[in-house]
Symmetry: D2
Subunit: 331 residues, 4 copies
């Protein structure tokens, strides 16, 4: 039974608390938060202790920590927790600063402790099935990858300002998905973006609609499309063209009902947002973390991959700003 | 070049005139109609002669006639035309009277001339592909056939009164489809019906919504659903469950556009009615008739099959009226 | 917190144990089984007591029992449990004997205790959404209901022999669904069946493929298709034609991946069987039961409805045997 | 009755000959070809005269010419034909040289004669329906356009060498589609490409897989994906994200049959290639040309738009070669 503490009792912390506590092989023993009352509320619900972060990290009885705090604390906490001998599952992104993330990577490497980055979408049953079919050679060799990832509605501008920007905050998931599907990182990245959904987002120095094109050493190409708004719900699709065919992962719809009237043939909308779409992915993510920690096998998503995704986000941010392609090795 | 005359210049006559005249191996030379002005109008459009039916049948230069007159004249005209040595393509149904149809069948048989009944749906590309996949054993041995056939809107009650009733007028197509798909006729037929769409249809002694169940000597079962109204368009689907899987033929939609909004994910409606849905079937039907006549091969839809379909309709009509199953051999 | 005991620790008992124990408002306190070792195994897994059925029923501290024993014990247990003052959720079918079920219904009525029958499919999110859309008038007034319900593979013949036959064992779900969707029971039932999937099933006196047609007082018609085999998985579809359109509930597929190759465009199969398809329905069923017991509101599926479904099954069994329609009021 | 001559009796010439000759308002009176025997063959089939191009252009009795010759002759022939007073429908692309195309545009403008460029896809019923729904405001204001356009198999390398390259030869259709859908031309174009399908294509200086990103003055973004190979058939899709939703045009499949087996649920492949997919578009294109010529209304696709599409192709070719974005005003 893995004894786990949760750092951060915000929205995503609650999602993880539920996964940890309902999993047979793990026990949620403690939680901390910047605001102690948040930790206490979650502790009451999940029947665990509310403690300070330092206290948790210092406690040798705790095997693993799940870091769900604000992004600017991720690197510090990963370093401290691994130095204290704990296994870590850290929410994405690794950091907003690529430099800091790389420094963290080195510190963690010295501890030899396992760290996994929480790219939950890898554990979505359909994206997983797509990946397996591709790796099994069912459509031959991949040539062109397309990822469509639209949020239902833009976040508040106040959030946008501290988010690190669309490429680091939102497209980071898709950068990781690209390396998950294709197995490598790109050579060149070209990004374009605009704030056509909400000019306020543009005024805050960010974009809300963006397309990134990535090229690979062997000639493969990937394209990622992001929008902060899709009136019909959370749009999460992947498409891979390969030498012998194509694989697509479609959206999960709210239900399976089809209505035919004089207005047309109507299916349900895609599920509203990430909790509805990816709940089973969070469960599977936690299962894969505990299994890897317990068996001592390779982390399903490594810190290195987390840093790579951040490097892609950095390159895309730079490309969009300067209006020219950026080589990944230059960031 | 097959020289063809058309008997009947109504709506369906025009459909056939177009198929005949645009087909490379046939020439529309004449047309007749109960109302000579109808024949003249069609003749002007298709650049052929307007003549009387007797005149056409007596003309040795005419190789084939297409009978698209009112149903009560079909048997007489098939007899006369074959006795005059012509090949015949006759619109469905063979007759409203099963007795008369059987008598006609005998007369025609004596002439040795080829007669095809115009069950156009057999030539629909999708129904045809389904039949080929079934015959090729792609899903094993058929066990349960389902046919859904809904018209967009009920006909006028005045038409209903002279139509012979839903089973002879509308479901006749589905009875033929059942023998096309399964290759045999059923042993028992049970029909239920009601006039829930339009009570006036019930007052006229007919039904507008009906379900027919048919059982076969080897244990197979078929079910046909008909409705005179589908608010979303012409609904024409076939589904066969077999030992190794299932084949379905879906509806043809008006176009391929999908609209996603906060109201759902909407495709186009099915095409409006039979002209839109089955235009390519009429062309293929004519091609198969001319080819069979020219090569002297078996008619793609025989008069015997036309009589069989009528027998099923007769049995269904009787079953619905008496509220009990009817053996096909008893009609 | 509702204190619940489970009677029956077979496969479906485990499904319910999981639902009961993971639900916030209920606690699984005890379990019994005809074979005590089964009860002990489940008790160990779910951290509750293994006791005898009599002991459980006699315990005033237990608020509710979930009956998941063999069908022939349902009536006895419902009577005893309600007489002991407990709320009951009893698995379908109520009984194999319609007479016994009706007697049970009277006994239970006298106790005034709430009994719900476990027709889990009513709680499927898609069937539920279909029902809500129909009741909201989104497609007008229902005219023709079609239910397709195919199991992936036939059960062992040994099971078939004690099952009560396809209509009571398998189609009972669809009979209930028909009254759930349409809100009433039919007037006439006509059933045909054959043992085309497995002749051994026929030798055992049962059918494996069946079509039932039901007519209602106001002219509506329903048709149910059952097969014990669908090579492609569990096929569970509903379709309602109404005055202004049609509603359909499609199959749940194993995942959302589409593969396009030179062989065609392939989606995943429907989920394998009822556990995969209806797991969320079992959870929702339990929630609705606890809520109704706690609030003292009407049971979501009444014992009367369970008896009605059995009466339909009885009529269908009789109709298939005698080859003629059966009036529901005659069984 | 518009008297029409066809210049060019190759594959696409035959497609147009069929459209011209089966259209009620036009008559195919003559055909020419670089190889006179080709013209004679087509003339025999369509019952018209085989003549020389000069002869046709000099003939005042000819109202319009359809130019379906090799691309390098388009500009010359458009100039000569319009100077001779004829209306012109010219196949795409206008020219391989943007400079020559612009010069031609000026010459033609002076004649005042109507010239239409044969971007047939605009007349596809589904793309047309998508455009109409967008213009009607059904999904609000467009923000992000995606065009997927994959050929089933690469052309011979010999063809690639004289084609002008993928951007001018193949993506030219998609460049036109982007201006058709969005109504304007982009400001910036970024292209990446590789020869991952066939290295021989790379050796010939071209690419076979490419992604182009275009940005517009008002912040809209468009992305076009091209591949010379799709093992599953001709893949032609359009997707527009807008403020209130999304419109997609799906692929046309070979038929409407769905097969469910233990391997999955399989639909038919997309139609093989452009003749199958766009036959109805060629017919509609011709209708719109004749109608505009006859009524003296604006050409449905102008020469200016043809030149614009070529400018986009030029910019994309340059961008892919130089590895940086290109401003459309700089080509």
């Amino acid at each position: 039974m893995l004894k786990v503490s949760l750092l951060g009792a915000g929205r995503i912390g609650w999602v993880h608390a539920k996964a940890i506590s309902s999993y047979a092989g793990s026990e949620l023993v403690a939680v901390s938060d910047h605001f102690p009352e948040n930790a206490e509320k979650l502790a009451a619900e999940f029947n665990c202790a509310a403690r300070t972060t330092d206290d948790i990290i210092a406690d040798p009885a705790i095997d693993a920590v799940l870091i769900a705090t604000s992004t600017d604390t991720h690197s510090d906490l990963m370093e401290k927790a691994t130095q204290a001998g704990k296994a870590v599952l850290c929410e994405k992104p690794v950091d907003l600063s690529l430099e800091r993330a790389r420094a963290c990577q080195k510190v963690v490497a010295k501890t030899g402790k396992p760290v996994m980055i929480g790219f939950n979408r890898r554990f979505d049953p359909s994206f997983n099935a797509l990946k397996k079919a591709l790796d099994a050679g069912e459509i031959g060799k991949a040539e062109l990858l397309s990822i469509t990832s639209f949020d239902p509605a833009p976040p508040p501008v106040s959030y946008v300002k501290v988010s690190g920007g669309l490429f680091r905050d939102m497209m980071i998931h898709d950068f990781d998905m690209s390396q998950f599907i294709l197995g490598v990182t790109p050579v060149n990245i070209t990004a374009v973006g605009s704030s056509i959904v909400d000019p306020e987002i543009g005024a805050a120095g960010d974009v809300d609609t963006a397309v990134v094109t990535m090229t690979y050493a062997d000639g493969r190409i990937a394209v990622i499309k992001n929008s902060r708004r899709a009136a019909y719900g959370y749009d999460q699709r992947i498409e891979v063209l390969a030498s012998d065919g194509m694989l697509q992962a479609k959206n999960l719809l709210e239900n399976l009902v089809v209505k035919s009237t004089s207005s047309g043939v109507t299916e349900a909308k895609p599920t509203l947002f990430f909790l509805e779409r990816y709940m089973s992915a969070y469960t599977a993510e936690w299962d894969s973390f505990v299994t890897a920690v317990t068996k001592g096998t390779k982390m399903p998503v490594t810190l290195e991959e987390g840093v790579n995704a951040l490097a892609m986000a950095e390159a895309a941010t730079l490309s969009a700003k300067e209006g020219k392609p950026v080589r990944i090795e230059d960031v």
